[in-house]
Each structure stands twice: as C-alpha cells, then as structure tokens.
Subunit: 236 residues, 2 copies
C-alpha cells in the first residue's frame, strides 16, 4: 500500500522540504523531485485549491495544474482524491499541533504565561492566514458526514482541550476564581475557533490583531488576577 508521508519531524525539516518544493516550481517537468517533495507540493496545491475554490469545486485537475504537473500524477502519489484530501488534512492537523506544542514549550513554567502563549499562538501568521483558514473551514463543512475528517478536525483535540482545562484549573486555584475549569476551557477554546471562523469569512473589519485583542480581553475578564493589564498592552 501507499505509505503516506508523516509530515512532522521538526519544523526545520518541514521548511527545508517545502523550500525544495518551491524551488522545483520553476523546473517542473520530468523526474526532478523526490517522492516526499512531490507529495508536499501536491498537498500545498490542494490547500490552494481548497482556499480558492472551496471543497466542492476542488478537482484533481485543478490540483495538478496548481502544482504544474500532469493530470495522472495525483493518482500516482496518492491513490485517490479521497486519500489526497485526508493527507492534506492530516498535514494541517500535524502542523497545527506542532505549532501550539512549540509555543507551550517556549512559554516556560508559569501557567498564566502558558495560557497566554497558547492563545497568541492561534493567531500567528504561519498558521492563521486566509489560505489555511479557508482550507480548515472547507474540511469542517464536510466533517460531520465523514468520520475520518471528524477525527482529524479535532486539531484542537482531546490533548489540546486537556491542556486548557488543566491551565484553567491551576489558575482558578491560584487566583481564587469561582469558575468550573472544564466549562471555562470550553468557552475559551470555542471562542478561539469562532474567531478563526470570523477571520476566514473576512467580512467585517476583523483582523488577526483585532481577534487576538478580543481573545486577550476574554483572558482578562476570566482571570483578572493573572491578566490585569488593560486591553492592548502586553507583558514584558
């Protein structure tokens, strides 16, 4: 069977491969790229197509064209359209998970800093941009009727949710708040997703900055002892 690439090794390795994929866009004919590079190239083209045309209008031909390759190529590297889409979603889910884990690690040991870092990470340009948001939303729209998507769409999955709950519990302890950690964590993570949806829609004048500001306002309201600063300002 086809062995799907496992996209997450390190962020650097990922970038390197992507760089190769980009470079090869100029010299595109013939057998110029490794299997891994080709697959990533096709996945990127798939994200492009999803963002530009939506799920229902994304075709194999469009993906192939977007990658500058021939029609039959996708069925060679991925067996079917379905598998290409699953691989694309898995790729984005891995990327997302790696991103918040990295942010969490970099935030050190202070729970308040960790929570703030997690929230801010959601609005980094690297993962929070029109293209990727549109692709995410395209999958969300199909997730209910496809168990495979549904499982992967929990990028904000059980592990992610558990971190939120634990952090909320810790902050409640140290701040003497009255909230149920589980409930507050749900409210918080739901708001983050909702802000993504708003950003994706792109109506209104909601920007990444506005969205982050709203998320921080939430934090200040929910955990006033830990985030006492006025809206907009940030800690050192």
């Amino acid at each position: 069977m086809l062995e799907i690439i496992t996209p997450m090794k390190t962020a650097e390795a990922r970038e390197a491969v992507l760089e190769s994929a980009r470079k090869s866009e100029t010299e595109k004919r013939g057998r110029k790229a490794s299997k891994e590079v080709r697959q990533l190239q096709l996945i990127e083209a798939t994200i492009d197509s999803l963002a530009k045309r939506g799920y229902s209008e994304t075709t194999m031909a469009d993906v192939a064209d977007g990658a500058g390759l021939s029609r039959g190529i996708v069925n060679f590297h991925f067996e079917s359209k379905e598998k290409l889409l699953v691989a694309t979603l898995a790729y984005m889910a891995d990327e997302y998970a790696a991103h918040w884990r990295a942010a969490l690690t970099k935030a050190g040991d202070d729970p308040a800093r960790q929570l703030r870092a997690l929230v801010a990470a959601d609005f980094d340009r690297s993962i929070c941009n029109k293209r990727k948001l549109a692709a995410w939303c395209a999958f969300w729209g199909e997730a209910k009727s496809r168990p495979t998507y549904q499982a992967l769409c929990g990028a904000r999955d059980a592990a992610y949710q558990k971190i939120f709950i634990d952090l909320c519990a810790t902050l409640k302890e140290s701040g003497g708040y009255a909230y149920e950690p589980q409930v507050m964590a749900l409210a918080l993570s739901a708001m983050l997703e909702g802000l993504w949806l708003r950003l994706m829609m792109g109506t209104e004048d909601v920007t990444r900055e506005t969205a982050l500001q709203a998320a921080n306002e939430f934090l200040s309201a929910a955990f006033p002892k830990h985030y006492p600063w006025a809206s907009g300002s940030k800690p050192a």
Copy 2:
C-alpha cells in the same frame, strides 16, 4: 423569472405552511400542494441532505427523493441547484434572524436581561439542533469562495453585531467595566459561533446545556456586576 418565496412572515404562518408540507408527505403524488408548500418541502429536504451527506455530496436526486418527488421537480420550482441552495440558506438566515429578534423583544427593556436572552436564544432547540447546525456548517465551508453565501452566512450579520456592541456598551456604562465594547462583543459572538461548531462536530461530550453553561460563564466573567450568580443557576 422565478419569484423566490419570502419565508418570514410570522412564526405562526411559517409553522402552518410547514405543517401542510408535513401532512402532504403521505399523499405525495399528483398535484396536491401549493407552490409555497412544495418549495418549503424541497428546502427542508435540502437541509436534510446537507446534514446527512454534506454539501459536496448533496445531489438534486437526493433532494427529490427525500421529498418523495420526481427528479425534474427541483428545476421546476427553483431554476437550478445553485438557486435551491441559495434559497435554503436564505430560509435559514431568515429563521435565525426572526428567532433572535423575537427573543430580544420578549426580554423587555433591561439590557442585562436582553443580552442573556440573546445568548440563550442561540441554544434553543428550534434552531440549535444537529440537523440545522450541520447545514449551517456546510454553507460556511463553501462561503469563502461564494460571495452570495458569504453575504447570507452573516446571519449573525451587522445588525446582530451592532446589538451586541450596544448592549456591551450599556453594561459597561452601568457596571463601570474597563472593556472596549466592540472588542468584548466580538469575543462574545465569536464564542457563540465556536460553540455551535463544537456542537455540530458532536465529538466530546458537549451538549446544548453544556454550551449554554459555558456561554453564561463568559457573561458572568465579563459582566460580574450584572451576572453575579454562580454557574448553572439562573435568575427568576
């Protein structure tokens, strides 16, 4: 040209027509139903199909079968698949808007009660159920690449958003809060949409009750002077 029905007159009229549509499901052949009833019947079947199969797999044949009618019928009442889908989305958007407006009116003049009523209205069974949520999400997934959908998907539109901002501003005034009303309103409405998304996905153990609880927790955190009660309890 085809004159699309305008679905919102009164809630009672709507229900009456739907009732007719339901009744006619038994005696379905021949010319038994008015134009309006048939159109609603087909729209309901479309929502069913969207919920069951997702946007990309919703076909004219499936809609017709779901309504117990023949294949060509949809092109008679709506000119094309595209127009059927637009009519379906418009129907849902109207229903949603009518619902929150009614809730707002019923809440009286107190801003705190109004805001709480708006939030609670979002989780009423009549509009917040698996079927409708799935249909909404199906449209969201396609909205970015279709201006028509994008416009209608703002069921939570400018007017809705403005109400939230005004209410937040009023509460800020009377409660002496420090938040920017616009930002807080964005956080709040985004959270409501995010909770819908979670409900739709249906993973985890998020129920309508849990979601409402989370939303109320948010209100208590953001406006403690106005919603001082502990989580779960409600005012008279």
